[in-house]
């Protein structure tokens, strides 16, 4: 049997209280989540399938985020997530649980994504689904903005694109991105800087009242 999950994350709770107390609570929650994950990893290492299933459930969205940031398309990201968890399952007996399963699966997903990119030198840029609404009231303005942003994104290198998405969308730190992509932290920082500059340039003369 996998260990019982910790109580739900209370960090978004509107309950009033001193900042320090809330920070302590958050810290305690994090520690509890970590110890729960540690128990899951150990159970999975003993061959308990429900424990491995719980780990997949916990980390598949974030692993998808990492893969999607690097490979760009949904289909490829999905393949990478599957491949990464299968790799993790095989390598689980050799994994040291104190390393942190999340960081480990992100590195595996990043490596699998980079491998996929190496295998497929040419990658088609996935068009933005029509259901995605840009935050502008005027559809023409929204279409123009989307076009500019797509064009701006197309000027970025694969690595710059991965860095800006991993940082600005997925919320990873420069050091974490560097580790995932196998580049120094400073390079990740500089890639982010240049990617942002190019994206700003794409919106240079764009004016809106929204």
């Amino acid at each position: 049997m996998p260990p019982a999950p910790p109580p739900a994350d209370r960090s978004g709770s509107p309950e009033p209280g001193p900042v320090v107390a809330r920070a302590d609570d958050a810290g305690a929650d994090r520690a509890q989540v970590r110890s729960h994950e540690l128990a899951l990893v150990r159970a999975a290492q003993r061959g308990e399938t429900p424990a491995f299933a719980a780990l997949v459930r916990l980390h598949q969205r974030r692993a998808y985020g990492v893969a999607r940031a690097i490979v760009g398309t949904h289909e490829d990201a999905e393949d990478v997530v599957q491949e990464s968890f299968l790799h993790a399952h095989k390598a689980l007996p050799r994994f040291r649980p104190e390393q942190g399963f999340g960081a480990w699966i992100h590195r595996i997903a990043a490596n699998a994504s980079l491998d996929l990119l190496r295998r497929r030198k040419v990658r088609a840029v996935e068009p933005l689904p029509s259901s995605v609404a840009m935050p502008f009231r005027d559809p023409a303005e929204s279409a123009d903005l989307r076009e500019r942003l797509e064009a701006g994104l197309a000027t970025l290198s694969e690595r710059q694109r991965a860095v800006i998405v991993l940082h600005d969308v997925e919320g990873f730190k420069h050091a974490e991105i560097g580790e995932m992509l196998g580049i120094p932290e400073g390079t990740a920082r500089s890639d982010l800087h240049h990617a942002r500059q190019q994206m700003r340039r794409a919106l240079d003369d764009f004016r809106t009242d929204a």
Binding site: T49, F52, A53, V56, R57, Q60, R61, Y64, G65, R68, A69, H74, E78, V81, Q82, F85, L86, H89, K90, L128, V132, A133, M134, P135, L145, R146, L149, G152, L153, I164, V165, D168, V169, G186, R189, S190, L192, H193, R196, M199, R200, L203, F206
Partner: protein, 128 residues
Amino acid sequence: MSDRHEHDDTRTTPADERVTAFLRERHAPPADERYWDSLEARILSQAAGGDVGAWWAIPQRWTRAGLVAAGLALAAAGLALVSAREAQTRRAFVEVMSAPAAVQVQMATQAASGADGREATLRYLIQH
């Protein structure tokens, strides 16, 4: 100014916010919970399939017992083969020794006389 400061993008502009909103929407994971359930199921099924298919991944303790059993089975099969061959040889010897000799003699005589007849015919044809 150091490289770290030069590339320190902590300030955000309205343009950055638009870019981030665009990237977030463009890279949004599927929202449908069923998608994640199905992905999880596929991963677990593949992981389980890998275990079942890996026939070489039998537990170590079974390996020795399996090898001993295979060795014993091989030795038993070898013994059975040898004893069957011996029995067959013995049976054939007994059959040969117990067969009536007259038949063999008679057959030999018949064969010999038949050959002589053919030779006489050939000689007659060549001479005439």
